[in-house]
Amino acid sequence: MRHKKLIFFSLIFVCAALMLAYIFIGLTPDNWAFNFPRRLKIMAAIVVVGAGVGLAAATFQTITANHILTPSIMGLDSLYLFLQTIVVFLFGSGQLVMMNDIPGFLLTLLLMIGASAALFICMFRKEGQNIYFLVLVGFVCGTVFSGLASFMQVIIDPSEYSVLEGRMFASFNRINMQLLWIAAGIAAVSCLISILDFKYLDVLTLGRNHAINLGVPYQRVVLRTLVCIAVLTSAATVLVGPITFLGILAVSLGRALVQTYRHSMLAGASALVAITVLILGMFVTERALNFTTPLSVIINFIGGLYFLFLLLRAKNT
């Protein structure tokens, strides 16, 4: 246990060190006024997205009793792209730019939360679904949404499409401060609700029957957690855009590092890994590649490879 705590605290240390490094490296008195507030804003967004995605991925894996799925992989990201595309398709790209204001943001968020909560609850309502069925449903939903999205993408005006394309890759560089505050508030509330349920989620590691036996109000906890997951994932996606494989990377590395069923540490480690990965990704895009490659491409490349590795390893055991 002490050993695990040590790893956990080193993780916090590494994360904090990277944050400071990102903010202060290359900062001179000349560029201070421009870079300092900008980097603080990016860092705040990274914390909101990383904490939300990390925690949601960890709790999602617990209640679905699997180690290879996350909400994004289950089709939430395709849903987001679908919603963005349908707005451009129906109302034109002017509307999409408008969606960067508060009502637009809240509307997208609500749609995302509603649709994903509905999707999850339908999937998990029946008892004893096997995990392969869920994987299949997730991929089918994802394919349907992205199929519909690309259908609309090919028939809209090419200039409209180029506006839309900007939305298809996550970016921390065009964040609206007000939206950041709203997303942070919503994410904080959901995180808090999940944190209060951590003691139940610890027991849920043993599976449904043991959890009921030990007096966990199973239905209520699962429903509440699924809603929190929908809110957290949606808030992160609507704020910066889809980063499909961030969650799986965060939770798998986090779990491998702390190796515990305790969610205070597991979800914490997962969130810290997500934040660390995002900062490292920002370093690479900003300082090494000079913005030529979007952040999400880098993270999805690494995360996707890792996901394949997990699948292959699961096949062998």
Partner: protein, 252 residues
Amino acid sequence: MIEVQNLTKRYREKEVVSNVSLTLPTRKIVAFIGSNGAGKSTVLSIISRLIAASEGSVLIDGVELGKWDTRELAKNLAILGQSTHFSIRLTVEDLVRFGRFPHSRGKITEQDRHVVRQALEYTGLTELKNRFIDELSGGQRQTAYIAMAIAQDTKYILLDEPLNNLDMQRSAQIMRLLRKLVDEKGKTVLIVIHDINFVSFHADDVVALKHGKLAAMGTVSEIINPDVLRDIYGMDIAVEDYKGKSLCIYYQ
């Protein structure tokens, strides 16, 4: 006391338990017997709120199952299902500590630690407490689950086929442990079991189910005789006397 009234469970059209009514004694080992698919596990799962009944009701200490607060019920009734695979590695001690959850709500106190130590001691697992569950043999794993139920400190302990896949020595050990729980700690043990010789040697009462209906109910000496067993299993089983206990011979 556990009472079951007109219990029925349907999956779509198929009735797996039909109109079963039981009043179960306390401080006894009650064995549920019957062929595969007779509805034994279903009845046990309904009593322990793992699955919902289609009709009928279950009363535990006079209170209807649905009216129990699930946390309070967890302090009174423990169910051990057929063992499951965990997605994370747990040590024996971790598992047994989970048994304290209904009492401590996740914050382990000194009292809880004491109970966990005692449960490990009682089941003879103290030396294995730091081993991982997936490194144990089937019998040791089953014993660890029972230790968890002991730590849960409930009046009623329900076990669904705890002897599955265990060798004879381990099976006898577990039955002796359950006997000890009833005799020394005054627990009530309900157990789904296939080997009727273990029933004959260790149980007090028997509930026999057939095609989802109650086929027979009574003390061991009333049930373990060729006529009743023929009704339950539809085969001839010779019953011989061995040192005052009945021994069933069903191998021919």
